[in-house]
């Protein structure tokens, strides 16, 4: 099925480790987004990409890095994992940079111990 695919679905990291959360979409969407969902906090934007080759910071970018070298992929890198990064991470895409028509992935649940 067409959509947004996130891998892995679950991950446990030790403090200080680095890792990359993968996100791929097959809808030829121009724009992609990374959100984190914490209990009682709703969804907060980490980084977004309006189109291939561009990225911008969202509300909570510290401790993360992204790149957008292809239209399909938008990986999120945790540089040195901290317990505060324990969260559920959602990737989303939309046809263009717009509030309309976000398609979300099913999420990655990350625990940092």
């Amino acid at each position: 099925n067409a959509g947004v695919t996130q891998t892995p679905k679950f991950q446990v990291l030790k403090t200080g480790q680095s890792m990359t959360l993968q996100c791929a979409q097959d809808m030829n969407h121009n724009s992609m987004y990374w959100y984190r969902q914490d209990p009682g906090m709703g969804l907060r934007l980490i980084y977004y990409s309006a189109s291939e080759g561009t990225t911008d910071k969202g509300e909570v970018p510290n401790g993360y890095n992204v790149s957008r070298s292809t239209t399909e992929d938008f990986p999120l890198r945790l540089l040195s994992a901290a317990p505060s990064q324990t969260s559920v991470y959602f990737c989303a895409s939309s046809e263009r940079l717009t509030v309309y028509g976000y398609t979300f992935g099913s999420g990655t649940r990350l625990t940092v111990v």
Binding site: G40, L43, R44, Y48, A50, E59, V99, G105
Partner: protein, 117 residues
């Protein structure tokens, strides 16, 4: 400071009755509002939206009402069904500034709706 507020973390409703989920916002520049629905272990899915030039938008059992003077919107589900049990997120945007530092989609904390048979 929270710009989009969903003050009820949870709501329980009997099947067949009306569910009313509320959302308040503080930023008067917001001009587009959306509701997303999220089941456990899944990503949010778009449910319904409304532009600030309207005060009501209807889609089947779902209706969103917007009261700009009160900076308040609500989602009505009639009749409620057990399959509606999910977390509902309210989101808002200043679309004139979308993509800039002030214009990204802002989500509330969500309200967990439970519809009992």
């Amino acid at each position: 400071d929270q710009q989009v507020k969903q003050n009820s973390p949870s709501l329980s409703v009997q099947e067949g009755r009306i569910s009313i989920l509320n959302c308040d916002y503080t930023n008067s520049m917001f001009d587009y509002f959306l509701w997303y629905k999220k089941y456990p272990a899944e990503g949010p899915t778009f449910l319904i939206s409304i532009s600030s030039i309207k005060d009501k938008n209807e889609d089947g059992r779902f209706t969103v009402f917007l009261n700009k003077s009160a900076k308040h919107l609500s989602l009505h589900i009639v009749p409620s069904q057990p399959g509606d049990s999910a977390v509902y997120f309210c989101a808002a945007s200043d679309t004139m500034n979308y993509g800039g530092s002030q214009g990204n989609l802002i989500f509330g904390k969500g309200t967990k709706l439970s519809v009992k048979p």
